[in-house]
């Protein structure tokens, strides 16, 4: 299921503003890669180019190449809708569809794919909620609105919604930044389990979290305000946190910066 992501020489623009410059990196299948770096350095921007969600923003465009195994995400024949069905995304603030029940939230992506069979839907909704460690908490109120859950539960609901369509890759943009420590731990445990099946990329401002959940860590930085963000280095997480090859990384990790 999981696929490798291969990015070469990617520039991202908002209109004429170049937000990210010259990123090349590889993300291995069935691994967790964390993006860290100071605010505004383009982590979210870059992450969104991995499923073409940046195109939703007026003026958002890229130069360069992103390969998902042997598929070019930016090939002229590639439909962004197909890309997003393969590369799922979880956002910083939990965003379950407020007018839908818990069940319908999880089933939403499947229904978009044309799955109508009640049995199939029931089965996938259950397995997705179990996969997101939410089943036991909601199995008795599947028809209640998703917006009635706690923040942490809502975020797990969003994860269940994302994995219900069985994507190859799961992108998470600061998925725990709106959550309390207990819910955060629950999601980190979940990420650990999910990496058996998915390629996961997570943006985080929490160094301990990056150290806990990720196999590889990518450090992004800005040369100066107004300059585009760049990838400083990407390496095994233990190396980044113990013995990074760049001074800027060391400074950032040890808190001497940003």
């Amino acid at each position: 299921m999981a696929k490798r992501i291969d990015v070469s020489d990617l520039n991202v623009y908002y209109g004429s503003f170049k937000a990210v410059e010259g990123v090349s990196m590889t993300v291995e299948p069935r691994s967790v890669t964390a993006f860290i770096g100071p605010s505004g350095c383009g982590k979210s921007t870059f992450l969104r180019t991995l499923n073409r969600m940046h195109e939703v923003i007026p003026g958002g465009r890229v130069e360069g190449k992103v390969m998902l195994d042997d598929q070019d995400l930016y090939a002229a024949s590639m439909d962004p809708v197909t890309v997003r069905r393969t590369v799922g995304m979880v956002f910083q603030r939990p965003n379950p569809f407020p007018t839908m029940s818990i069940y319908d939230n999880v089933a939403a992506g499947l229904r978009l794919n044309g799955v109508k069979n009640k049995k199939t839907l029931d089965g996938i909704v259950e397995s997705s909620l179990k996969g997101a460690n939410l089943w036991n908490e909601v199995k008795d109120r599947l028809n209640k609105p998703g917006a009635g859950l706690s923040g942490g539960q809502q975020q797990r609901l969003c994860i269940a919604r994302a994995i219900a369509v069985q994507p190859q890759v799961l992108l998470m943009d600061e998925p725990c930044s709106a959550l309390d420590p207990i819910s955060t731990l629950a999601i980190e445990d979940l990420i650990n389990e999910l990496k058996n099946d998915y390629t996961i990329v997570i943006v985080t401002h929490n160094m301990q979290q990056a150290a806990r959940v990720s196999d590889r860590t990518a450090f992004f930085n800005l040369k100066a305000t107004g300059e585009p963000g760049r990838l400083v280095e990407v390496d095994d997480t233990t190396r980044i946190f113990n013995n990074p090859s760049q001074q800027a990384t060391e400074d950032y990790i040890s808190g001497r910066f940003g």
Binding site: P58, F91, N113
Partner: protein
């Protein structure tokens, strides 16, 4: 405008922080400012309710003598002869014309208005959205007499052949039967009303669609929704209470519209044969009352017209209540 129906889009939108709007304030203290303001607000509220109640009571009191003297069934008769020794009057014709014309107006205005609003918020190029929205708001403010004039002078000649064509092709169907009316028909009035309320539906729907949180839209798009699927999963459900409110406001205007309709209707002669045809003439409640304001010469006659007005009032009230119930039922899911 919202006083017409008491339902406004703002009632149904989440508060600024996305939460429930505050209901009842426990924090208010016994301070002078709070007491003054609280007292003033309570007084105003009670005053408004009292005035509305008094008006209703006054109308009912005025209508009762006429109704008790009525020798026809008020709801099922088509006769309208409220004067004289033996007053005889019923509202069936007005009820039918009003409801039929307003239904036609809604059937056209709501889908088209929602479609235009979706186009303006989701599909139109960004540079065009603001000016177009301004234009729609402007149209919503055009006085109805202008629509009446336009309908009579510009639209009627265009409409006539269309109606003729439908009569020729579909005349076997009771709703489209020939009724031999040369002036404005129920269908024509319905279409003019549709054009008149279209900007209202569009303007209000546009506003709610525009407020769909970006996070909902992105949530749908990130699942691999197409633009239209995103609209169906995020924009329409979010906008639904607002669209219902907009439709009710529009329906309120269509039901009660006086000037434009009075201008365009063809009154039926006494004893005209009953037909289901939408190409028949007929008065609406509002146009009947407006056309005959000069007849309010004695209490019995006046009472008959007031009774007709009361039916219109109740009709609007019922429609609004149904809308309220529909919105309330979905409330748990809309916050």
């Amino acid at each position: 405008m919202s006083t017409v129906t008491g339902v406004s889009a703002a009632d149904e939108l989440p508060g600024p922080d996305g939460g429930t709007p505050l209901r009842g304030d426990r924090a208010s203290t016994g301070r002078l400012g709070d007491r003054l303001f609280g007292g003033f607000a309570t007084f105003s509220g009670v005053l408004v309710i009292a005035i509305v109640t008094l008006i209703a009571v006054f109308l009912v009191v005025q209508a009762i003598p006429a109704l008790t003297n009525n020798s026809e069934n008020f709801f099922t008769s088509r006769v309208w002869a409220p004067g004289g020794e033996k007053p005889a009057f019923g509202v069936l014709e007005f009820l039918w014309t009003t409801v039929a014309a307003s239904t036609i107006a809604m059937l056209i205005a709501v889908p088209v208005g929602v479609a235009v609003a979706l186009f303006l918020t989701q599909y139109a190029p960004v540079w065009m959205r603001r000016p177009a929205a301004g234009l729609v708001d402007l149209l919503a403010a055009v006085p109805s007499i202008v629509y009446g004039l336009w309908g009579l002078i510009v639209f009627f000649p265009v409409w006539k052949p269309v109606q003729q064509w439908v009569e020729d092709k579909l005349g076997w169907f009771p709703l489209f039967g020939t009724a031999g009316i040369t002036g404005g028909t129920i269908a024509f009035i319905g279409v003019v009303l549709a054009i008149m309320v279209l900007p209202i539906v569009t303007a209000l729907s546009r506003e709610v669609f525009d407020q769909t949180p970006a996070t909902h839209k992105e949530g749908a798009l990130a699942l691999g929704a197409t633009q239209w699927e995103m609209i169906r999963t995020a924009v329409l459900p979010f906008g639904k209470p607002g669209v219902i409110s907009a439709a009710m406001l529009a329906l309120g205007r269509a039901l009660g519209e006086t000037i434009a309709v009075t201008f365009l209707v063809s009154a039926l002669p006494d004893g005209a044969k009953w037909t289901w045809s939408l190409f028949n003439g007929g008065e609406t409640f509002a146009s009947k009352i407006a056309n005959n304001a000069s007849e309010f010469s004695n209490p019995s006659k006046t009472g008959a017209y007031i009774a007709a007005g009361l039916v219109l009032f109740v009709l609007t009230f019922v429609v609004n209540s149904i809308a309220r119930i529909v919105i309330e039922r979905r409330k748990a899911f809309s916050e």
